[in-house]
């Protein structure tokens, strides 16, 4: 809708790149209130608000898991394979553990993996994307090749192979594997964005103002792609949570860690379906879906801001 822009706002013609306009909007919004600008914008979006509230709830559960869970998730003191009851809201496992307590503690694992792997792969993506896009030339050719390679290599088989060779099993290994395999998509998008941004006149102006390359990237370019970085982080976190659950479900996770994936793995192995323990099977999948939903809802807010075409009329 170029016409709408050009004519509706008499004083301010259509802004250039979408991510730039988000930056301005965020700064404008932040001025009037105490909250950071991006938060105000996200909060205004209905879907996004629901997502943020859900995410906050999950975080609270994860942080206060020991207080919320009625039992130690590893305690094998109860009757095995029990159906839900007042004492065990979601029943017990084949080893006699409390399913609900495991569910509560599982939130920790998922959020931890999501945040840490999300942050790490976003950092790699930003570093590779920025370097490739800003420097161009041979560096770009080489890095782009690795980005494209990372995009096409089948991720789960690679994860499985890497996890299988690793001498130690553990959550940090899973996080490392997910990070190593999950940065390419974000890097590609950031590279494309920086290639448009680096030709902006204000970047040239900063060079003529005597700014160093590092400062130009940090102060002139990155603030204009914040929304892209946030969307990228959400995507990576989402992928990491799913990947952890998948690997754990396949039995490749850390057997010592309680996670929703290992719960499903044990439910499947422990014959939850033949004994009719639906709660043991349904609950972990459902909370996983809810967590993913909350991320997706938040992403709606960020996405809609950076791409006006997706905005609802």
């Amino acid at each position: 809708m170029t016409t709408a822009h050009g004519n509706a706002t008499a004083a301010a013609p259509a802004p250039g790149a979408d991510t730039e306009s988000v930056g301005i909007a965020a700064l404008d919004a932040g001025k009037s209130r105490r909250m950071p600008g991006w938060f105000v914008i996200l909060w205004r979006n209905g879907k996004c608000r629901v997502g943020l509230l859900m995410l906050a709830a999950f975080t609270l559960v994860a942080v206060f898991a020991p207080l919320i869970a009625p039992y130690d998730p590893r305690l094998e003191d109860f009757a095995t394979s029990e159906a839900p009851s007042g004492a065990h809201w979601l029943g017990t496992t084949a080893q006699g553990e409390d399913v609900f307590s495991q569910l509560v503690h599982g939130a920790r694992t998922s959020l931890l993996v999501g945040v840490v792997a999300g942050v790490l792969s976003t950092l790699i993506a930003v570093a590779v994307g920025l370097t490739a896009g800003y420097l161009q030339g041979v560096v770009d050719e080489v890095l782009s090749f690795f980005i494209n390679l990372g995009l096409v290599v089948p991720v789960l088989p690679l994860m499985i192979t890497l996890a299988a060779y690793a001498p130690v099993k553990g959550l940090w290994l899973i996080i490392a594997v997910i990070t190593v395999t999950g940065w390419a998509h974000g890097a590609r998008i950031k590279r494309a964005q920086i290639i448009t941004l680096r030709t902006r006149d204000y970047v040239t102006a900063a060079k003529f103002a005597g700014d160093s390359t590092a400062r130009i990237i940090a102060y002139e370019i990155v603030p204009n792609m914040m929304s892209l970085i946030v969307v990228g982080f959400m995507g990576s976190a989402l992928g990491a949570i799913g990947a952890e659950a998948g690997l754990a479900f396949l039995g490749l996770g850390d057997p010592q860690t309680v996670s929703w994936g290992t719960m499903l793995n044990q439910a499947s192995l422990g014959g939850a379906m033949t004994t009719g323990q639906w709660a043991w099977v349904v609950a972990p999948g459902l909370v996983l879906a809810l967590l993913v939903t909350s991320f997706t809802l938040v992403n709606f807010g960020v996405d809609a801001l950076s791409n006006p075409h997706l905005r609802e009329d």
Partner: protein, 655 residues
């Protein structure tokens, strides 16, 4: 009955998260059969919205909120999409603003003709040879028939524009809406397309509503001109009359921004200020804050469109004598010729003008600060297995001296931007040398280059891309001060405030913490200029600094540059495609054509007595409203329909 009649039309934008904007407000006009009507206005005045409303192409959040559009007796506003479809293209067709993107990228040009023909069997009688009809039209717009087999991305901008024009005529429509059809093209190409358009319009007799911000072009092309400001029509009169005398001060300001660069003394006007915010209510005249002749009443009373002479205008000073007396009257009223009922005021004098006289330019200046000698630049591009080389610049020499402005004139692709890159050390010449006070610029590296750039600063073309949208003005201005002049934060802020005052953004304290998005285009360009001045450079390179600005404020920015450069003894290279602005600003002019300098000398000599054929073509491409208007052909449909309003020969004597 007119072909198109618009009555009391209102269009409102109602975005979800901001206040509603009245983009088009109570607009009424008619277009007669075969008439060529121009609609003139600056960006944001509502002209394109009006065009889209007429075509019924408005999309959310814009909607027609009042009034009526009648085409050939049918009320178009009441028709639904199915009823409209047969009328589209067969009766009303259009050429969009950015034809760069108005052709479908994945189908051939032929298919885009074919689907328009196929969609209207009723208009073509069913049997039409697509290749024949489309080929014929392409030839009319000077294109080869082979273009039919091409995809849009294989065509140049000018070619796409011609295709779009041919496409608009394929069903022999009775009305064509042209929305800035040549914006973004080189002047010579523009000229060619517009000439062809006028000729076709005369031959085929379709009516045209020509939307443009380019007054010169509209005045030359149109039979009748409507000027739009802030969603309203402020003046609507035969072009020939308006050229002679503008009744609305805004029209006067616009027309005042044109002049013949070959004249001995050149004076152009500008209208300081910016259009009002249409999401707010305004009681008085919308133009009052910018108006040079406003009286007290203008602040409280909204003028209505009153008939004057052979047209209409919207200005309190033109309304009945009783009111004028009440509002203090107008100075030196003289009896208006023609219409007794509506007296006409004297032509509005523009208060803000930027002028130059024959002897004010061409000073010698001091020792050269910048010397360019025999510079050439060849680009090698990989092509398949081998390389092709393009010679962007050939053997160019010139000098820049303190307090003097040298204009580098040429079209896109002429090599002028390459020269700017060579001067700033962004690129190195393949041949020749660039010297800054004895330093070889073409040999500088890294930190030496960074130190050198303190002395050579840039003013950019696009004020919207030249300032980082996330950084405040204090930051943007502070960087060069801290890096090049070694100031600390407090000193830099104080100096930044001084700089803002220098470029007319006053009081500076109000601006320092603003973001670029809170400023208008003209204000942004002032900031860009302030930033370039910050490190106290000796050379300023201004690359088309006014071409993206609204016509009414261009001269204002030129005047600012002029004052600053001369007061501070800066040597300036002014890069432009526009000979008028070169004439106003420059002491010497260099004309660049395909990388070679074809003409070089004092401004008046080069422009007043152009020797090179290319320079002459550039001069011929400048629209000169009122002086070189093509006389309408006798008995043309335009004249028949409008009662002969379109002839240059009817111009009152004395002009």
């Amino acid at each position: 009955m007119p072909l198109l009649q618009v009555e009391d039309l209102q269009v409102t934008y109602s975005p979800r998260d901001s206040a509603a904007v009245r983009a088009v407000d109570h607009v009424s006009f008619t277009v007669g059969e075969g008439e060529f009507v121009g609609l003139l206005g600056e960006s944001g005045c509502g002209k394109s919205t009006l065009g889209h409303a007429v075509l019924r192409l408005l999309e959310k959040p814009a909607a027609i909120t009042g009034g009526r559009i009648t085409f050939d007796g049918r009320d178009v506003t009441r028709l639904d999409e199915d009823e409209l479809r047969p009328m589209r293209w067969a009766d009303l067709s259009t050429v969009f603003q950015s034809s760069m993107n108005s052709l479908n990228p994945v189908i051939t040009v032929r298919e885009q003709f074919a689907d328009a023909i196929a969609a209207h069997p009723e208009a073509t009688g069913g049997k039409v040879d697509v290749d024949e009809r489309a080929g014929e039209l392409l030839e009319m717009v000077s294109l080869d028939r082979g273009v039919l087999r091409r995809y849009p991305h294989e065509l140049s901008g000018g070619m796409k524009q011609r295709v779009a024009l041919a496409l608009a005529l394929v069903l022999r429509p009775r009305f064509v809406l042209l929305d800035e059809p040549t914006t973004g093209l080189d002047v010579v190409v523009q000229r060619d397309i517009l000439d062809r358009l006028r000729e076709l319009q005369r031959r085929l007799g379709f009516a045209v509503l020509f939307i443009s911000h380019d007054l010169g072009t509209v005045m030359e092309m149109a039979d009748r001109v409507m000027v739009m400001y802030a969603g309203e029509i402020v003046e609507s009169r035969p072009a020939a009359d308006m050229v002679v005398r503008q009744l609305h001060p805004y029209s006067a300001g616009l027309l005042g921004s044109y002049a013949d660069p070959r004249d001995a003394d050149v004076e152009v006007a500008y209208t300081p200020g910016r259009p009002p915010d249409l999401s707010r209510r305004h009681d008085g005249c919308l133009f009052q804050p910018r108006c040079p002749v406003a009286v007290d009443a203008c602040r409280t009373r909204h003028p209505s469109l009153v008939p004057v002479e052979r047209g209409e205008a919207r200005c309190l000073l033109l309304e009945g004598p009783a009111e004028q007396a009440a509002h203090g009257g107008r100075q030196g009223a003289e009896a208006a010729p023609g219409t007794a009922s509506a007296p006409v005021p004297p032509p509005v004098r523009n208060v803000a003008v930027f002028s130059t006289t024959a002897d004010s330019r061409g000073r010698e200046g001091g020792e050269p600060v910048m010397t360019v000698e025999g510079v050439g630049k060849t680009y090698r591009t990989k092509r398949g297995l081998g390389f092709t080389s393009t010679r962007a610049v050939r053997n160019v020499s010139f000098t820049l001296r303190p307090g003097r402005v040298s204009a580098l004139v040429g079209e896109s692709g002429s090599g002028k931007s390459t020269i700017a890159r060579l001067l700033t050390g962004v690129e190195r010449p393949s041949r020749g040398s660039v010297r800054f006070k004895g330093t070889r610029v073409d040999r500088l590296r890294r930190s030496a280059l960074r130190r050198y750039r303190r002395h050579v600063q840039l003013v950019f073309q696009d004020p919207f891309s030249a300032l980082n949208p996330t950084r405040t003005l204090a930051y943007a201005l502070g960087r060069p001060l801290r890096n090049h002049l070694g100031m600390d934060g407090r000193q830099a802020r104080a100096r930044a405030a001084e700089l803002l005052e220098t470029v007319g953004l006053s009081p500076a304290e109000q601006y320092l913490d603003k973001l670029p998005s809170q400023l208008s285009g003209g204000q942004r360009q002032r900031v860009v200029i302030a930033r370039a001045l910050a490190p106290e450079p000796e050379v300023l390179i201004a690359d088309e600094p006014i071409s993206m600005l609204d016509v009414s404020i261009r001269a204002e920015i030129l005047e600012l540059l002029d004052t600053l450069v001369r007061d501070r003894g800066i040597a300036m290279l002014y890069i432009t495609h526009d000979l008028l602005s070169a004439r106003l600003l420059a002491d010497e002019v260099m004309v660049l054509n395909q990388g070679s300098m074809v003409e070089h000398g004092p401004t008046l000599e080069v422009i007043g007595d152009a020797k090179d054929p290319y320079t002459r073509r550039l001069l011929a491409a400048i629209p000169r409203p009122g002086t070189s208007r093509v006389p309408a052909m006798a008995g043309s449909p335009a004249e028949a329909a409008t009662g002969g309003t379109g002839g240059a020969e009817q111009r009152p004597p004395g002009i």
